[in-house]
Symmetry: C2
Subunit: 122 residues, 2 copies
């Protein structure tokens, strides 16, 4: 049953299972996009920004003040959130207000939050 893989010099033990799963794998690109999506949640600053925006729309300097960080750092992170389409913005004079683009986001956030809360006891 054990055979050598044609690639990368790795032994295969369960050829059939591997081939079966290979066929069920989504396109490479989709899994890449999914990882990129989760990566946006994988930073404390962005998580804190998202949490704040769940409560209310906010302008950049207020977020910076809330989190005790520079305006520049916040602005850079908002750009990441914006390009991931997690937040939208509206301008009012010089002030730019950011808010959530998608309530769906809160569900994902909450599910993760719930998960770590459950694991806290361990």
């Amino acid at each position: 049953m054990t055979e050598k893989s044609p690639c990368c010099d790795v032994t295969v033990i369960h050829e059939e299972v591997v081939e079966q799963i290979r066929e069920s794998m989504p396109p490479e690109e989709e899994l890449f996009n999914l990882a990129e999506f989760f990566k946006v949640f994988g930073d404390t600053t962005r998580i804190r920004i998202l949490y704040a925006l769940f409560q209310s729309e906010m302008c950049v300097c207020d977020i910076a003040h809330l989190l005790g960080m520079t305006q520049s750092a916040i602005s850079h992170q908002l750009r990441v959130l914006k390009s991931a389409k997690l937040v939208r913005y509206r301008k009012e004079g010089r002030v730019v207000y950011y808010s959530l683009d998608d309530e769906h986001i809160k569900a994902i956030f909450d599910q993760g939050y719930q998960h770590i809360k459950e694991q806290e006891g361990n």
Copy 2:
């Protein structure tokens, strides 16, 4: 209404909103842990491993073969998944079989997957 922040030289525009949200913020540590949790999903290799394990438990060399990567790379990533308690393992002779530790994980994965599928049209 506009005041100078005591920290970091940032102007505050909506003092009341900021203070109100500040009180509602979860402990720093929880948001940090949440970001760390999502960070684990934020890598293509780990996402692919998780997807594979949704289908079936697998040994290290089979995963390596499936993904066309070295045994070492997979082993390192399994360690990350293991320490995040996303996977568990059982040993059978020399072979180590990995599987999901928590069905909850699939819900989070699916929700993210659903999200990017919905956004695909844009």
